[in-house]
């Protein structure tokens, strides 16, 4: 084997390994979503929430093989300019299986995990009242059709938002978070709130049954983000590139990711006055807010942008409540709201950064506010319209929501043939205005009264 052949071979090996690690880390996002949503549910819906997450992973992965990958390769020019070039992405092509000269599988795998992540963003928002089957149809469309068309437009080396408008979105804020947030908003409008969530126009807090589990879930998602952002980098034997072709490094991403996490948590803490759910969601909000320019931002600027993003999310959440939209985990606020905010900010902060020439397309325009804001609007519409229309169709067929009797009793008593806590769980109850009781079935709580 000549030195050049050896180098080419090693590039394939390292590419495989690089994205293999990325995939493995991204699976912890799903472990995180699972824990997060189990904790956010009431105890009568815990296993239904878990099953929904598990099945999301399965259905999106499978359908992403059947047709999702093809959409990415077919739709990068608006609206269908490259269908002929996508035959290699059809599920019966020579590249879509074990092939000793192709690394398509590892890229497909990384994108499949992105797809499943996008599908999972919808999952938490619709907890406790959506039919699992309806949810799986919706998440399949979101994860294996809508997101990947958004990725073809907004996260592709030859995507039309880049070639025509000079688009830049390193960390997939638009095609993952914004598209999922907008799709979710459309679904929530048709799904309606949980019973008892709004009474007489007033929002009533429905407490998560296990907030510590929710917080642990978000920490797992933070770990997974390092795999996610690793997958946003294109490895070559001459260095790393963003998906838009500009050179970058993992060092750059380390600065922005960690400062984004820190800023978002601090911002959300301040804004929510230390409310744990919003504070830890602030980490996610921070990373999403800086995602468009995390290969380019100064770390302190990333912190500032992330902190503002973290501050915004409780306000986004309260704004949705005014319209009686019940988003159980704040998915629209955190993913949709912060992605849109981050993209708008990036248009001004990154204004003037050049794009690199692309074979066959010339040099795209430099990054600019109109391109970033216009692209954000395009992707938001791309997410919202199918989410709204598809859920409306399911609603008309009476297939979107579970019956009220089942909702009141809990899904774990009907469609899930198991119970999460057969021996019960300790509870904390408010006895009266000035006393708190910690109790379970095994001792007399009147002996344990704590005056506050």
């Amino acid at each position: 084997m000549s030195p050049d052949e050896t180098l080419a071979s090693m590039e394939g090996v390292i590419t495989d390994l690089f994205y293999w690690v990325s995939i493995a880390l991204m699976i912890s996002i799903h472990a995180g979503f699972l824990a997060y949503e189990m904790g956010a549910s009431r105890s009568k819906n815990v296993l239904a929430a878990a099953m929904k997450n598990l099945l999301t992973f399965a259905v999106v992965t499978a359908t992403f093989f059947f047709f999702g990958w093809w959409f990415y390769n077919a739709f990068f020019q608006f609206p269908v300019g490259a269908i002929d070039a996508a035959t290699a992405a059809l599920p019966w092509s020579d590249d879509m299986g074990p092939n000793l000269t192709s690394v398509t599988g590892i890229f497909w795998g990384a994108f499949a995990l992105f797809a499943a992540t996008t599908g999972s963003i919808l999952s938490g928002a619709v907890l406790e009242r959506i039919r699992t089957s309806a949810f799986l149809v919706l998440t399949t469309v979101l994860g294996s059709v809508v997101w990947i068309i958004a990725a073809a437009w907004a996260w592709h080396p030859n995507g039309w938002l880049l070639t025509e408008w000079g688009w830049h979105d390193f960390g997939a804020a638009a095609c993952v978070h914004l598209v999922a947030g907008a799709f979710t908003l459309g679904v929530l409008m048709n799904l309606g709130p949980r019973i008892g969530r709004f009474v007489g126009g007033q929002a009533i807090t429905i407490r998560p049954h296990n907030l510590p589990l929710t917080m642990l879930g978000l920490m797992l998602i933070f770990i997974g983000f390092f795999g996610f952002l690793m997958g946003c980098v294109v490895y070559t034997n001459t260095g790393y590139l963003s998906i838009f072709g500009n050179p970058t490094t993992l060092s750059a991403i380390a600065f922005s990711t960690l400062m984004g996490l820190a800023g978002g948590i601090i911002g959300a803490y301040v804004s929510s006055k230390g409310e744990p759910f919003w504070t830890i969601s602030g980490g996610l909000a921070g990373v999403i807010s800086v995602a468009p320019g995390m290969d380019l931002y100064h770390p302190a600027l990333a912190f500032i942008i992330a902190a503002v993003g973290g501050m915004l999310i409780p306000h986004f959440g309260r704004m949705l409540e005014k319209f009686e939209i019940d988003d159980v985990v704040g998915a629209v606020a955190v993913h949709g709201g912060c992605a849109f905010y981050g993209l708008v900010v990036s248009g001004f902060v990154l204004w003037g950064y050049p794009n690199v020439p692309i074979d066959g397309f010339g040099t795209p325009p430099e990054v600019n506010p109109l391109g970033q804001i216009g692209g954000a609007i395009v992707i938001a519409v791309l997410g919202f319209v199918p989410g709204y229309l598809l859920s409306l169709g399911l609603k008309k067929m009476n297939m979107l929501r579970i019956p009220a009797e089942v909702e009141l009793a809990g899904l774990d008593l009907s469609e899930v043939p198991a119970t999460p806590y057969p021996e019960g769980i300790p509870i904390t109850t408010l006895k009266e205005q000035d006393a708190v009781l910690a109790s379970d079935d095994s001792f007399d709580p009147t002996d344990q009264e704590v005056t506050v």
Binding site: W92, P98, N99, S133, E405, E415, T419, P422
Partner: protein, 71 residues
């Protein structure tokens, strides 16, 4: 189903490689199984909801370990 006689110069090595009708058949059957899963889930949901509303057990026979008692 081997597409190769030798590993020398082999490229696509998966079962049925190069035989497009066979590969399409694999995909069609796998996709049909996926649709079957969704149909099964809808039927299970309808049954479970009806049983719960009727205050009857979702599954026949004694509860298995970890299964909730009949509603």
């Amino acid at each position: 189903m081997s597409p190769i006689d030798s590993w020398d110069g082999a490229t696509a090595v998966f079962t049925g490689a190069g035989d497009v009708p066979l590969d399409v058949l694999f995909v069609v059957v796998a996709f049909a199984m996926f649709i079957g899963f969704l149909v099964t889930m809808v039927r299970h949901e309808n049954h479970a909801y009806e049983q719960m509303i009727a205050h009857t057990a979702v599954e026949k026979g004694p509860a298995v370990e970890g299964e909730p008692s009949a509603y």
